[in-house]
Amino acid sequence: MKSNLKYVWKATYKDRTEFNQFNEDGTENLFGDIEQDELDEFSFNSSLGHTIKLKLKDDMRLICFRRHSMNFMGQNDKIQYVLGYQKTLDGKNVKTMMFIDDEGNVLLSDGVQ
């Protein structure tokens, strides 16, 4: 599956240790295994050669998912990679999200596109 993904994630904890989506042997770690409370940075590393990095403050909660669009028969799967955060501001849940397509184009949004 790794070869099909244009972006893979890397979590960097406050103690500077790293937790990668894929281990050296090719096995994959699940997003749910990230220790969210210990996160300092979260990045998308692109097969195109660039990195998109999010620096997390204590009041920011990470948003990360892949949005799949595929035809009715499960073919032609297109993926948008979504990276962002949410925080409580004046009692409201506020989101900032980047929608990144396969070619590296980025759309910044305040909610789900």
């Binding site: 599956m1 997003f31 998912f65 949005r67 669009s69 595929m70 035809n71 028969m73 499960g74």
Partner: protein, 175 residues
């Protein structure tokens, strides 16, 4: 591994036998693979229905969770005059077998399917305004999104023949 998504059609009684499908052919039978059998006849007046189709997305493999399952079209039906494709307004976890008279007419889903209280032209749903299918958390291996129910209505004004395929898009978020 990421989640693997496949489309299943449910047929038969009582709980529905799932079949992985790579196309959906509307017909006048409770059959996921009718071939050229059980075509929908063009009536002399008014309209007839296909049997309704019950479909769902199946997720398998190692993944954390899937949510926000939606479906949409390009907004334009290429099926031509007199042909309307409906989606039931309700999605759910309960299957109900399609009924009707084989080779003639399917029972209309709002009238005959106890889980469907309304229906909408499928082609009104577009990428900017998709149909919500399931916003619960899907996390098992395998696990399923809620089922959708589709039905084609063919009026006397329709043109005979095999229709060109239309593309419908599923959308879901995976973490």
């Amino acid at each position: 591994m990421a989640a693997t998504a496949t489309v299943e059609e449910l047929n038969g009684a009582p709980t529905g036998t799932p079949a992985t499908v790579t196309n959906v052919r509307f017909c006048t039978a409770d059959d996921d693979n009718p071939g050229a059998s059980y075509p929908i006849p063009i009536p002399d007046s008014s309209s007839v229905n296909s049997y309704w189709k019950t479909l769902r997305l199946k997720f398998s493999g190692s993944y954390t969770q899937v949510t926000n399952v939606y479906i949409y079209t390009d907004g334009t039906s290429g099926f031509g005059t007199g042909i309307t494709t409906y989606i039931g307004d309700e999605t759910g976890e309960t299957y109900e077998q399609a009924t009707g008279t084989p080779g003639e007419d399917g029972d209309e889903m709002v009238t005959s399917h106890t889980g469907i209280d309304g229906k909408t032209d499928l082609f009104t749903y577009t990428s900017g305004s998709p149909k919500e299918v399931d916003t619960t958390t899907i996390s098992g291996d395998p696990d399923y999104a809620k089922v959708i129910v589709l039905q084609m209505n063919v009026a006397s004004t329709a043109t005979a023949g095999t229709l060109s395929a239309e593309t419908i898009t599923w959308q879901y978020d995976e973490i």
